[in-house]
Symmetry: C2
Subunit: 261 residues, 2 copies
């Protein structure tokens, strides 16, 4: 049996624009026999697969019957053992807030060879779309990537965490930011971060449905709700107020809430 | 003159493997009239440009006459004004430890339109190559991206910084890590981080010349010197000791120094 086992590809689909797939990811999707994808991977990328490819949405949010991680793992293993080319397609980069670790463990435990194909992560895509850098030797010497998702659960991602990331010289990138920034605001302000610190939320970065809203730390609780995938960026390297005042940065449409308090 | 000005593309080349270029980056390189690239962009990617394309290494480390950022900016502006398609090709993602902010400012000041094309950043590539995730809901809830470069200068990136990033539930990704990890070791240990915390250095991730060396925080000062581009990963999500012991992770060759103290 072993000689028939096919390697599983754990692939980053990037932010959504098919032009931002890697060359390798594009090829793997085209050659896949089985494509197991996150909710966040858009139809325009899935359309690259052949008509014979078995495509399944294994996203956690995907209504109806809610597939478990164990079921996803089992499905990958089973298809690989049948000699099928399996592509597990994660939104963004698979190593950032996917369930990649659990998938690796399952494949290793089952003795299935695998490869990881990195992708463009949502924070990079959002910055590119905004026309800003995440680091800047004049303003930001680090990038801190956190998930807002856990903050909404009775999970370890608690109060003190926001204080710890309160640094004037860091760019904070919050994945799955949710919509309640009251605690984030209080704690970052309480830790001494400037109320003028620019903040921007970007939804569907790089896609036609892209939306953005800008604020400052002082007004961050006024940011509107946005669809997933969304990312919240906060830090001096965004510098959006100044850019807006300078009228140098072309903000799309009027989704802009400028620090008005 | 204005109608002839061409948009400048500030493009991420990814980690080095041409297969890990985005589809868009590949196309832009092929169509470029002028290609201004970092040292870290390999020849195999530059070879995608046409024979007529003017290619210049504008990397800071590139010996001989050392081009300044102002000269790079000037060159982009001048070529765009001549109606040429300029691609400024950064290693990895342009928003992470490039000079993207300064280039944006220069283009905006000159009234030259531009676009940013995000790329796969070195940390994602190194994790993919190692077969690990950067986050893991069981082990790591955040990724902290810092540059080791500034640590070697009389710059703000000072002693306290390592203490601040000492978190059991974070993955630390150090770009341009250099080769002296004594202070990092002392401070992270001093801040209470486990001496068993896995650490891995990866050089030329995803390229044929890729090298890796594994250690723990306790043995991190024994990591060998490695060529740029290199990245140092540290955190429980790497879990390489356990993986090594379990003989589940296929480490290439014998560059492995395992926690031997």
């Amino acid at each position: 049996m072993t000689q028939d086992v096919e390697k599983v590809s754990l692939v980053g689909a990037g932010p959504g624009d098919p032009d931002l797939l890697t060359v390798k990811a594009q090829r793997l999707v085209r050659e896949a026999h089985v494509l197991l994808h996150d909710d966040l991977v858009p139809a325009v990328i899935l359309a690259l697969a052949t008509a014979r490819c078995e495509i399944a949405n294994v996203g956690k949010r995907c209504g109806s019957k809610g597939i478990t991680q164990a079921e996803i793992n089992e499905r990958m293993v089973e298809a690989a053992r049948r000699g099928l080319r399996v592509v597990r397609l994660h939104g963004g980069d698979p190593a950032v807030f996917g369930r990649l670790g659990e998938e690796i463990d399952a494949l290793e435990a089952a003795g299935i060879p695998f490869e990881i194909v990195p992708g463009v992560t949502a924070g990079s895509a959002a910055a590119a779309s905004l026309g800003v850098s995440l680091t800047d030797r004049r303003k930001s010497s680090r990038v801190i990537i956190v998930s807002g998702h856990r903050a909404t659960k009775a999970a370890p991602f608690a109060a003190t965490d926001w204080k710890e990331v309160a640094r004037e010289d860091a760019t904070l990138v919050v994945y799955m930011p949710g919509n309640n920034f009251m605690r984030l605001r209080e704690e970052l302000l309480g830790a001494g971060l400037s109320p003028e610190t620019p903040a921007v939320m970007v939804s569907h970065a790089t896609m036609p449905a892209e939306q953005r809203a800008a604020a400052t730390l002082a007004t961050i609780h006024l940011l509107p709700h946005m669809d997933s995938p969304a990312v919240l960026l906060l830090g001096r390297s965004l510098d959006c107020r100044q850019r807006k005042q300078d009228a140098r940065l072309a903000w799309k449409e009027a989704e802009l809430i400028l620090s008005s308090l």
